[in-house]
């Protein structure tokens, strides 16, 4: 098997960092040599703190994605199918959308205190918008002839949505879902870093404040891996689930 060339630069960089730290004899509260980070990672993995924190962060992110993304999808369907409703909602949507979701942390803290509910609420708010905006465009962009076919066949509204609208928009809806998933992780970790004593973000902050850079970088590295793994998983799912719909839709156009 050939050595994967993409790994050459990262491995060289790691070796250089390790060598620089050792040769200079640097003692630091803010950076750590790769070997110490690897040790800290192994320790955190072994004592269960890393996995527990991961579960907390992913749980909050998933709950927010489900609630906010689900609500965004429902509204996207309604607005995508009804131009009149879309016109009516344009001003409220444009007014609320620019609010940075993390700006809601103080309000959410007042309403729910520390813990999962406030984090889930903020993640929901953040995930609502990509699902709504991309979803609405996906549904408004469905071939109009297909909707006419649904009309002349006299499909009921649920059948029209289930058999025509969602399958026709699915490839693009899945893109919205992937984007919302990435947003959910970013926002969950942000809430944990700034406020909420839970999850990976909080673990990262704890290590920083305890002046344990090796542990801090271990958490950071793991966060990167989790985000990358999540995206890779969704890409595989996209190919598996919608490969046909995806390529057929492109061929037809």
């Amino acid at each position: 098997m050939r050595f994967p060339r993409g790994l050459v630069v990262p491995l060289l960089a790691l070796a250089a960092a390790e060598a620089a730290m050792r040769l200079s004899g640097l003692e630091s509260d803010s950076i750590a040599p790769p070997s110490a980070i690897a040790r800290a990672f192994a320790t955190a993995l072994a004592d269960g703190t890393l996995l527990q924190a991961t579960g907390e962060t992913l749980g909050a992110a998933a709950a927010g994605l489900g609630l906010g993304g689900g609500a965004g999808l429902l509204l996207a369907i309604a607005l995508g199918l009804s131009p009149a409703l879309a016109r009516l909602m344009r001003v409220p949507v444009d007014a609320f959308r620019p609010i940075p979701s993390v700006a809601l942390i103080p309000i959410a803290l007042l309403a729910w205190g520390f813990g999962f509910p406030m984090e889930i609420a903020i993640v929901s708010f953040a995930c609502f918008w990509p699902m709504l905006i991309i979803g609405q465009a996906a549904i408004a962009g469905i071939e109009p002839r297909l909707l006419e076919v649904a009309r002349v066949l006299r499909l009921s509204l649920p059948a029209r949505i289930g058999k025509i609208v969602l399958p026709a928009a699915l490839p693009r809806l899945f893109v919205a879902f992937r984007l919302a998933t990435a947003v959910s992780l970013i926002v969950a970790v942000t809430v944990e870093i700034t406020t909420n004593p839970l999850g990976l973000g909080y673990g990262l902050m704890q290590a920083q404040q305890a002046l344990e850079p090796d542990r801090m970088f271990a958490f950071l590295l793991w966060l990167g891996l989790v985000g990358w793994g999540l995206n890779a998983l969704l890409l595989v799912a996209q190919r598996r689930l919608f490969g046909r719909a995806g390529w057929v839709a492109e061929e037809v156009r």
Binding site: R145, L146, V149, V248
Partner: protein, 257 residues
């Protein structure tokens, strides 16, 4: 000639404007049960709009469209529409069988009965071998056959066909013309067939309605007393066919001048 029957579809003084432009002006037309009526005219004369009114996809501004004596207020299951752009009217994520199934699902046919009925419908349009193929894997002619099968699955009384063979090559077009005549003959459908091909209109129709643009109105109605069943060579060489073709051509030429 088919026996005289009471009109099934009626246009009673129908006018329609779209986007501030008068598209159809005072259309009066009745289509008899089991009649094959063709509509011809230059593009922009409102012939597709006429068909969409009959389908209930549009509502007239004045006058009314009737079906079996009642005003048409929306699409009905007994009225099937064959669209010209078959590539867009089929669901690309469903196989041929799945596309036919859509009409049965819409009509609430129980799952257990769908399989045999789908097989029979695909058989009728000559697609039995392609049940598992997806629209993108079918030729244009096969895709249009599939759309016709889906319409037949509605068990309609009326077929509304909007330039259904306009995008097909000449050979495929002729074989589909004969197939549609055979299918209509067998099921006793009433047909409203829009085309810009004058010979196709004469070959298929019991009557041919010629329309005039700006605004769209009916200019002339030609009776087509050619014997049935029709035959691609014999019918097209019939002196009466040639006379009608000349009359219709002259009429359209005059229109364009």
């Amino acid at each position: 000639m088919r026996p005289q029957a009471p009109p099934l579809i009626g246009f009673e003084g129908v006018s329609l404007s779209l986007g501030g432009r008068l598209i159809l002006d005072d259309i009066r037309l009745s289509i008899a049960r089991q009649e094959f009526l063709c509509v011809v005219g230059s593009s922009g004369c409102g012939k597709t709009t006429l068909l969409r009114l009959a389908a209930g996809l549009l509502r007239p501004d004045t006058g009314q469209v009737t079906y079996a004596g009642n005003a048409v207020t929306g699409p009905a299951r007994e009225v099937a529409v064959v669209f010209q752009d078959y590539g867009r009217a089929l669901l690309p994520w469903r196989s041929a069988a799945g596309n036919v199934s859509l009409a049965l699902e819409a009509a609430g046919v129980p799952r257990a009965q769908r399989g045999p009925r789908i097989a029979a419908l695909l058989e009728r349009v000559g697609l039995a071998h392609a049940a598992d193929r997806y629209p993108a894997q079918l030729s244009g002619g096969m895709q249009q056959r599939l759309q016709i099968a889906r319409c037949l699955a509605q068990e309609p009384s009326v077929l509304l066909m909007d330039e259904p063979f306009g995008a097909l090559d000449a050979m495929t077009r002729q074989s589909l013309q004969d197939e549609i005549l055979r299918l209509v003959e067998a099921s006793g459908n009433t047909v409203l067939f829009v085309t810009h091909d004058l010979e196709e209109a004469i070959y298929l129709g019991d009557r041919v309605v010629a329309m005039r643009p700006n605004p769209g109105r009916i200019a002339e109605v030609f009776d087509i007393p050619l014997p049935r069943p029709r035959h691609q060579l014999a019918t097209r060489e019939d002196p009466e066919f040639l006379r009608l073709r000349r009359a219709l051509f002259d009429f359209i030429q005059e229109e364009e001048r």
